[in-house]
């Protein structure tokens, strides 16, 4: 019996491949498994082909699978286009309806075994739909309890009424029955049913923002980040906040800055092209010391790039984007669950240090759904310093303090009026060209970030070994899975997942790589942006190596393990 399997449901738009995948994933959760699901779609806005890539297992899953065990083709209309993203081999099987025509050449070329599976006939016999036949077959092949499948169907389509549920259940049963004759041994070991957490990285960012206290979000639609704002819109209202659809990316960040000036923790959400447009205002928020969370769900760039595919190429922009010397905090969540924790922490840091904080997620984290154990780790709240014992002519908005954080009263507080100022300013906030004020401001804004104790938010170290892999964001999952496999071959690997990318946690990195014989920085971009960032700051030894490979192809553990070995 297997500990994990990977199944792809594919077909033309409207055939229901995504519904089959979602229901399968939900059923797996109920049956006590863990899982990941990635959706693929063609370039068309509506219609076109779609695929659900689902991996489930008895243990939590860190990464996309290297190969797929089963592909169920609801039809063959353009499904061949997905072949590069659904790696298969001679041990894989492809279930397809002979009535749907000849399988795609690219699928045949993988060497997978073709199994005739009369989806249309089976569906017609029970007056159901082909995608539910596929769901029943997949559940039977994986050995998922039919009760879990039934409950998931009730959860997902219950609103459509008993007749619709009955038709789906009949189709699932017919699919399961037909799958009995398939020669396959991919049944999973029994799962451990219990409470599971089910969601995507984009939803988790929304959750983390609410947990952290964000009560104002403004955004402009952009793939693959829009779902964060869509998830937040109704919920923000429910907790007494506001979500704004701005007229453009620049308006969105300026609205968030305005709301934050008003004393309300605020956030803007975007992807690479939008971040490019926002950078001038990021400099303003840094200079005027306005708290702000900026979420970038990275996609393939530059320019419009590949909007629906993942990449980690915005790191340079997040680290340095804007003119002048403008230090900022950059955080990157290293798993879907970590999207919530990292965003919550980002809100706290923005508020406590009165500065923009980046959350660098990416399409892969954002749009993958996962089943995991309920995350319990929460960040200790930190809040904005709004009180001051000075008022009137004595009140100085940018008064020097031990931690370089000055009182920031919100409008409405009597006697402490101040003007947020993008011009170089003195301690009162009055514009000044004087070198002493300008340099004092630069030092203040640098030191408040550099001297802050970020605690254990800086990153996570797993394993021990003289070979150390340093990674961030969505690369951490496949790196950890690669390390696990290498350990099975007695190769000792330590993984350093960095959550705090700026300011660089130099001491923690130095401790983590002490005694290492080999240090490899792994990231999904073309030029090794993290590698250059760390090397430039001498946070790594000169002989550190770089494994940088751009999107759109997802990082697979096998690829990383092969490079290290």
């Amino acid at each position: 019996m297997r500990s994990s399997i990977a199944i792809c449901f594919a077909g033309s738009g409207g055939a229901g491949a995504i519904t089959a995948g979602s229901t399968f994933l939900q059923a797996a959760a109920r049956a006590g498994y863990y899982g990941l699901m990635t959706k693929l779609s063609g370039a068309q806005v509506r219609g076109g082909e779609a695929a659900a890539l689902v991996e489930i297992g008895v243990e939590p899953l860190d990464a996309q699978p290297d190969r797929f065990d089963v592909l169920i083709a609801l039809d063959w209309d353009n499904v061949g286009k997905f072949a590069p993203e659904v790696p298969m081999d001679s041990a894989s099987i492809v279930l397809a309806d002979p009535a749907a025509g000849k399988p795609a050449e690219a699928i045949i070329a993988t060497g997978a075994r073709l199994v005739d599976f009369p989806l249309a006939q089976l569906a017609s016999d029970v007056k159901g739909r082909g995608n539910m036949i596929a769901l029943g077959a997949a559940a039977a092949l994986a050995g998922i309890d039919s009760g879990a499948v039934e409950q998931s169907i009730r959860d997902l389509i219950g609103a459509k009424g008993e007749a619709a549920i009955a038709a789906s259940l009949a189709a699932v049963a017919a699919g399961a029955e037909a799958a009995q004759s398939i020669d396959s041994d991919i049944r999973l070991r029994p799962g451990h049913p219990g409470r599971r957490w089910f969601g995507s990285g984009n939803e988790a960012i929304g959750l983390g923002a609410l947990r952290g206290g964000v009560r104002f979000v403004a955004a402009y639609p952009i793939t693959p980040a829009t779902e964060i704002t869509e998830w937040l819109a109704p919920r923000m209202g429910a907790v007494g906040g506001r979500a704004m659809l701005a007229e453009d990316e620049i308006a969105a960040i300026n609205m968030a800055v305005g709301a934050s000036f008003g004393g309300v923790p605020s956030m803007t959400v975007t992807s690479g092209p939008g971040l490019s447009l926002k950078v001038e205002t990021i400099g303003l928020a840094i200079s005027a010391e306005i708290p702000l969370v900026i979420v970038d769900v990275m996609r393939v760039g530059p320019s419009t790039g590949i909007p629906t595919k993942s990449d980690q190429g915005d790191l340079d922009l997040a680290l340095t984007g804007t003119h002048g010397d403008a230090p900022r905090i950059v955080l990157a969540p290293m798993s879907i669950a970590d999207c919530a924790l990292t965003t919550e922490r980002a809100v706290h840091l923005a508020e406590a240090l009165q500065t923009p904080v980046f959350v660098l997620s990416d399409q892969s984290l954002g749009q993958t759904q996962t089943i995991i154990d309920e995350p319990t780790r929460r960040a200790e709240p930190m809040t904005r310093a709004m009180e001051s014992d000075k008022s009137g002519a004595d009140f100085r908005r940018y008064q020097p303090t031990a931690d370089n954080v000055s009182p920031m009263p919100a409008p409405g507080v009597e006697g402490r009026q101040w003007v947020a100022e993008g011009l170089s300013h003195d301690e009162f906030g009055h514009p000044s060209n004087a070198a002493r004020f300008h340099v004092a401001g630069l030092n203040k804004r640098r030191d408040k970030l550099e001297n802050h104790d970020y605690g254990d938010i800086w990153g996570e170290v797993t394993g021990e070994g003289e070979t150390v892999i340093v990674a961030f964001g969505s690369s951490v999952g496949p790196v950890k899975e690669a390390a696990r496999r290498l350990r099975e071959q007695d190769v000792a690997i330590k993984v350093v997942g960095l959550r705090l990318l700026a300011p660089i946690p130099k001491k923690q990195i130095a401790d983590a790589i002490e005694g290492a014989r080999r240090v490899i920085v792994v990231e999904q971009n073309h030029t090794g942006q993290l590698y250059r960032h760390l090397l430039g700051a001498k946070a790594l030894p000169a002989e550190a190596e770089s494994l940088a490979r751009p999107g759109p192809a997802p990082f697979r553990p096998g690829e990383i393990a092969a490079h290290i070995a």
Binding site: A148, L210, E247, A259, Q417
Partner: protein
């Protein structure tokens, strides 16, 4: 559907004077700049409006006139070029009980910030937007703006840009502003009256102020004689207002339009606690 915004009852003080809204910061403006008149009119209007300085926020972008917030005793935000309206929108929506006034110039509001101007009129958040229009970029020393005459000669466009200026009040009306007026910077008292009416009016109030630039457009000082006061018939009929301003002499001051569109609000959403939101993520076979 338009939605109502519920603003907390604001305190009103009858004892405020112009002096309560002065700051000690010395303006950088050229002696004789029209913006001094606007500053004084705004300080008068704020006093008459009755909200104390700490309940007022002035938001601006970049340019000569955008320096104004520092010259009052209110809270202020001097942001980046052209983005004052979105900053003010975020502030007002987050803190609806504040009196939020946006100030800036023609380059800031009509050129680099033109998109926000259009959408602020359309969105109708309860803000007052004052544009000090001198028909020139003054801070960068004399380039033509979207309201500059086509044949105005300048170093950057010798012989003129050859492009007709647009009418800010016509654009504001077309885009849906709820209150549209034009004032003249040197008519301090009448301008103050317009500004008080703008602040009192719900929704987005737009006041275009003709504010002469004595340095780069000295001929604008002639506006003092040319301006037609009391020549505008205030209407609540947007079409009539539109017809009156299209192609009309821009050198007329007064309140052009007072509409009754409800100010931007928020759909009522049933309150939910964080526990309910957290629960959406849980799959529990035992439940």
């Amino acid at each position: 559907m338009e939605l109502h915004l519920h603003e907390e009852a604001a305190c009103h003080r009858a004892d405020l004077t112009l002096k309560d809204f002065k700051s000690g910061v010395e303006p950088i403006w050229c002696p004789g700049c029209g913006d001094f008149g606007v500053l004084q009119a705004l300080q008068r209007a704020l006093a008459a409006n009755g909200r104390p300085p700490h309940e007022v926020a002035l938001v601006s972008g970049i340019g000569c006139s955008s320096r104004l917030p520092a010259y009052t005793s209110a809270y202020g935000f001097h942001g980046v070029h052209g983005r004052a309206l979105p900053v003010a929108t975020g502030l007002k929506l987050a803190r609806p009980e504040l009196e939020v006034v946006v100030v800036g110039g023609d380059g800031d509001g009509y050129s680099i910030g033109g998109n926000h101007f259009m959408h602020a009129c359309r969105r109708n958040v309860n803000l007052t937007y004052i544009v000090m229009d001198n028909r020139v970029y003054g801070m960068t020393k004399g380039q033509p703006s979207p309201t500059t005459e086509a044949d105005w000669d300048s170093d950057i466009a010798p012989g003129g840009v050859g492009v007709s200026p647009f009418s800010p009040v016509a654009i504001a009306l077309a885009a849906g502003a709820n209150f549209v007026a034009r004032g003249f910077a040197l008519d301090v008292k009448p301008l103050a009256d317009i500004l008080v009416a703008a602040m009192k009016h719900p929704g987005f109030s737009f006041v275009e102020v003709l504010s002469p630039c004595i340095t780069f457009r000295p001929e604008e000082m002639d506006w003092k004689k040319a301006i037609k006061r009391n020549a505008i018939q205030t209407t609540s009929d947007r079409k009539a207002a539109m017809a009156a301003v299209m192609g009309a002499d821009e050198l007329m001051s007064g309140i052009i339009f007072e509409g009754d569109r409800p100010a931007y609000g928020q759909a009522h959403v049933a309150p939910a606690g964080m526990a309910a939101i957290e629960g959406e993520f849980i799959v529990d076979p035992a439940a």
